[in-house]
């Protein structure tokens, strides 16, 4: 079982937030909060305590790239690993996410095994 961490799940579709939340719980991370877009997410991150961000990219108000940039610019938040879980499958988007400091990138639709594997890789790499 994984070391429990507090997650922030960011996606404009409630169905997807719920799916990710349930999967995280099955993997051993029951502590999670949700945000509908990047603007709400950055507000929650600045006013809360989180260990990990799982975010969609295509969202209203503030998209996933903008959220990633805001996190990496914030001295208090820049250490947070950000895993992009998105339907955006263009190579330039993946490169942009990697260059922007994303810890991982998963394309939808995805499997539980993929999420578990990517989380484990990030945890191991960052020593969380």
């Amino acid at each position: 079982m994984a070391t429990p961490m507090k997650f922030l799940i960011v996606d404009d579709f409630s169905t997807m937030r719920r799916i990710v939340r349930n999967l995280l719980k099955e993997i051993g991370h029951a502590d999670a909060d949700e945000a509908e877009d990047g603007a709400i997410a950055i507000n929650k991150l600045r006013n809360g305590s989180f260990d990990f961000v799982v975010t969609d990219i295509n969202m209203p108000n503030m998209n996933g790239f903008e959220l990633l940039a805001a996190i990496k610019k914030d001295e208090k938040l820049k250490h947070l690993p950000v895993l992009m879980v998105t339907a955006e499958a263009r190579k330039e988007d993946i490169v942009m996410a990697a260059q922007g400091g994303a810890a991982g990138y998963i394309v939808k639709p995805f499997t539980k095994a993929t999420l578990e594997e990517k989380l484990a890789n990030i945890v191991k790499k960052l020593g969380l």
Binding site: F13, I19, N22, A89, I106, P109, T111, K112
Partner: protein, 219 residues
């Protein structure tokens, strides 16, 4: 004199054809429940004397697409609720089957006398675990709501952009010389789900390709 297919259309013919295309697109979008902003402009150009009544009969803008989004969302939520309930039951069945197996094992001589009892308890545990995995797959399949929703939104956006640009072209090329709307809508840089990846080299089609690309970048 007959005009060959390769000769350019006279400007009035081109204008009429563009007008016809724009009107068809307008009708198609209206049928989808998407009420474009250019209705008044078409009227001004004399293209839409009959559109007024048709548009007025149409439901509120985007309501039909919202209806689709709402129904698919509700269906997905219903499935997720049932999956939650089923998973809780499945967990309890697994727990009790394991307990039964342990109990049988602790009774002296019972396992040897009736080995089928433990086999049954273990079979129930395994079947329950398989069902739990299936329930997880059912839960994951509800991501169709997110993916199809993004595609529908993208289609409407593209259609609306084409419509607006066609109108701008019409206004610019109108015989009466009406001033055109020379702005071009900026398409969003995000594309959403890739519907037809065949033949494209700029997109990935599975997670393995994502991983390969990231690995090539040193991740």
């Amino acid at each position: 004199m007959n005009r060959s297919d390769t000769d350019p259309l006279p400007s009035s013919d081109l204008f009429n054809k563009l007008g016809g295309i724009t009107r068809q697109l307008h009708d198609a979008l209206s049928e989808l429940g998407y009420t474009p902003k250019l209705h008044d402009a078409l009227n001004e150009l004399g293209y839409a004397p009959k559109l007024q009544g048709a548009v007025e009969k149409l439901p509120d803008a985007r309501s039909r697409l919202q209806y689709i989004a709402r129904l698919t969302g509700e269906a997905a939520e219903k499935v997720l609720n049932l999956v939650d309930e089923a998973k809780a039951d499945q967990l309890e069945i697994t727990r009790q089957a394991r307990e039964l197996d342990d109990t049988i094992a602790r009774v002296p001589g019972l396992s040897a006398a009736m080995p089928e009892l433990r086999q049954m308890a273990q079979a129930i545990t395994q079947a329950s675990e398989r069902n739990d995995a299936r329930l997880t797959e059912i839960m994951l399949a509800q991501d169709f709501h997110d993916l199809t929703g993004q595609v529908v939104a993208r289609v409407v956006q593209v259609a609306a952009t084409i419509e607006e640009q066609l109108l701008a072209l019409l206004l610019e090329s109108a015989p009466a010389g009406k001033p055109g709307q020379d702005h071009v809508l900026v398409a969003t840089s995000l594309q959403g789900p890739v519907v037809t990846p065949e033949g494209r080299t700029d997109v990935v089609t599975d997670q393995a390709q994502v991983d390969d690309l990231l690995a090539s970048l040193g991740f």
